[in-house]
């Protein structure tokens, strides 16, 4: 018994010392084999592509600000950024959860197919662009062209939205609590139903938030651009 060593349950990487390649390779190939599910990353210093392409139920905590594409194409993993995130946070996420405790730059959650992206602060331009089924909860406000061409999924905005919210939406639905500077082409306000309120309540709870679902408005597609017609020439 004396020879048995305690099995580590966590692993720490320090990006001031370890390379990004070492970190991502470990997350892709070695962590599961070693039975490690908790990974801490120190001193990210704005590095790009941290924890991208994960495909396992890992719990990654990044302490500091990150650059582009944190948790890009995430599948299964939970990634928490204790800081701000650069462009494309959780882009093309398939499942799992990505939580940015600070602010997020442009295109957060772009083309994400599944999972939950939570941004405690504001999100910049094109948040949820090309969304394909994921859920996004933004604690603050979002920049212009958010949810541009969003195809499926839900987006909860606790603050305000800038110009052209939901331009060319397909089936995605946006819930916004504050003011909307302008809606994009083919987007429109619709009445909130009980189903919508329940959806907002569930998403807020999942994001650890306590806003009142009754305060939100629903934005969805008017579907006037689903088929070609001569009167919508500027939209084509």
């Amino acid at each position: 018994m004396a020879n048995l060593k305690p099995v580590p349950s966590a692993r720490e990487f320090d990006l001031s010392r370890d390379s990004l390649r070492q970190l991502n390779l470990y997350l892709h190939k070695e962590a599961v084999g070693e039975g490690i599910s908790q990974i801490r990353v120190q001193n990210p210093d704005g590095a790009h592509s941290i924890a991208c392409g994960l495909d396992a139920e890992l719990d990654v905590h990044i302490h500091g600000h990150v650059g582009y594409y944190v948790a890009g194409m995430n599948k299964h993993a939970t990634v928490t950024v204790h800081g701000n995130a650069g462009p494309g946070a959780a882009e093309n996420m398939m499942s799992g959860r990505v939580h940015v405790k600070g602010f997020a730059s442009t295109a957060a959650g772009a083309s994400a197919h599944g999972g939950l992206l939570v941004i405690d602060g504001d999100a910049s331009l094109r948040c949820g662009i090309s969304l394909k089924g994921a859920d996004i909860v933004v604690g603050g406000s979002v920049g212009s062209f958010s949810a541009f061409m969003a195809q499926a999924g839900r987006m909860v905005i606790c603050g305000d939205a800038e110009d052209a919210l939901g331009d060319s939406l397909y089936e995605a639905v946006i819930y916004v609590r504050g003011t909307v500077r302008s809606l994009g082409a083919d987007a429109r306000f619709e009445p909130m139903t009980d189903v919508d309120r329940a959806a907002v309540k569930g998403l807020l709870a999942a994001a650890g938030r306590s806003e009142n679902p009754d305060d939100f408005k629903r934005v969805a597609s008017a579907k006037s651009l689903y088929h070609w017609h001569a009167d919508a020439n500027q939209e084509y």
């Binding site: 582009y68 882009e91 295109a107 090309s130 394909k132 020439n233």
Partner: protein, 448 residues
């Protein structure tokens, strides 16, 4: 004077009158498939100077001529090795049926080359049948997912397409059947208008970072291609190389599409001939020839075209429309149970005839190639299609080696610009080779 006065206007010819009257009636621009139909300088305007007294030929029917082609040797740990420098261009499941994608994969695998997905994701049939599959990352990101990224042999970031550089894809509702809709996360039957810009990056500096992300996701194993539609090719190729591409794909204006506006097809972009020369100039300017591979596409049809492209400096070509024609596109029959069945009624219903059809956008392809209709797609038997395509590509490759041997080359990649002359001043200027019978390269050399 008597009789009819039939003086046709050059400016307002019958084609133009038809265009204006169609626009006046509908208020919408025309949408169609395939590539540019207008005459532009092309590879037919070049000729080879084969060996004679000053060059020594290889024995045409005996001596070996190497066609092996490596793509992605710059950074990827697992480059693509092709048996021939002829690849199959990106064409989507959606534009083509799953059976056609299956046929492409079978033929390519038998010949030792690659196929490429398109704006609609990767089908299981295509992955199963294609030994080497290039997975496109397009602005729409339809069906794009990390599992398929890992299953792919290379990733191709599509910036643009020769038929419509600067424009997004288009798939009309009649082709968005339940499976296509599911793969693209779209409502069934919707007229799909793809984005023309990538959602998560906006310029060449961002592209550097995007490519690195894909490299991290794939653990630096897979080659990353960057595909551009031919416009400002010299600058675009340099930017793609700076961004870290292993392979640059340049698609000239003759390149095909499943559907886009006619005005785009005929009036945007530059000919493949000019694009190729500019791309090679860019690689030379960066001293990157041989480090970054160049694939050229857009109207490549024959072994002569391939040989000329390689002589001008391409490492490989990609063929799209030629592949579809080999499968039966614009044929007056399709094959069922070994018999040729007339498809003329289908062409008539579309208001066209074999040899003229460009109605891919309708989804009513009379020979079952560019359709998602459950009955029409049965007109293309994957086994028959694969055999025809393999025959075509094999023929193209044999023509290529025939020319290479005649020029005294033991390897098709040894073909060089010095082997070429041009038939016209325009082609000489665009390709950067001398006008035949002179040493004059317009813009470069002395006058004749």
């Amino acid at each position: 004077m008597s009789g009819l006065q039939l003086e046709e206007s050059a400016g307002f010819d019958r084609h133009t009158i038809d265009y204006i009257q169609r626009a006046a009636a509908s208020g919408l621009y025309e949408i169609r498939g395939l590539g540019a139909k207008r005459r532009v300088p092309n590879f037919d305007d070049l000729l080879f100077l084969a060996a004679s007294l000053s060059r020594y030929p290889l024995e045409g029917y005996r001596e070996r001529c190497v066609t092996k082609t490596l793509l992605g040797t710059r950074f990827a740990s697992k480059p693509i090795e092709l048996a021939v420098p002829i690849t199959i261009a990106g064409m989507s499941f959606g534009a083509l049926s799953a059976r056609v994608k299956d046929a492409l994969g079978r033929a390519a695998t038998e010949l030792g080359t690659s196929t490429t997905t398109g704006d609609g994701g990767m089908t299981t049939e295509e992955r199963a049948s294609s030994k080497m599959l290039v997975y496109q990352c397009l602005p729409s990101r339809y069906g794009f997912n990390p599992d398929d990224v890992r299953r792919a042999d290379a990733i191709e970031i599509v910036i643009g397409q020769g038929a419509k550089p600067g424009g997004g894809g288009m798939l009309l509702g009649q082709k968005v059947n339940p499976r296509v809709a599911r793969m693209r996360t779209l409502p069934e039957g919707v007229d799909q208008r793809s984005a023309s810009r990538h959602p998560d990056w906006t310029g060449p500096d961002d592209l550097v970072i995007k490519i690195k992300e894909l490299r991290e996701i794939t653990d630096w194993e897979k080659p990353i291609y960057v595909k551009v539609g031919a416009t400002r090719v010299f600058n675009d190729v340099k930017l793609a190389v700076h961004a870290g591409a292993d392979v640059v794909v340049v698609d000239g204006m003759q390149g095909g599409t499943a559907a886009t506006q006619t005005v785009f097809i005929e009036h945007v972009g530059i000919p493949t001939l000019a694009a190729l020369r500019q791309a090679v100039d860019a690689l030379d300017d960066l001293n990157m020839r041989g480090t970054v591979q160049l694939v050229i596409s857009g109207g490549i049809r024959s072994g002569a075209d391939v040989a000329k492209a390689l002589a001008m400096g391409a490492d490989a070509v990609a063929i799209g429309q030629g592949v579809l024609v080999a499968l039966g596109c614009n044929s007056d029959t399709y094959v069922a149970d070994g018999k040729h069945i007339s498809a003329l009624d289908g062409y008539t219903a579309l208001g066209t005839s074999p040899g003229f059809c460009h109605h891919c956008h309708t989804g009513k392809c009379p020979v079952g190639v560019t359709t998602q209709d459950s009955q029409l797609e049965l007109r293309l038997d994957p086994a028959v299609g694969a055999k025809r395509l393999k025959n075509y590509l094999k023929t193209v490759n044999m023509e290529l080696t025939t020319i290479a041997r005649a020029c005294g080359k033991q390897d098709v990649h040894h073909l060089e610009k010095e082997d070429l002359v041009a038939l016209t001043v325009e082609a000489a200027a665009m390709a950067g080779v001398p006008l035949a019978g002179t040493s004059w390269i317009p813009g470069q050399g002395p006058t004749p």
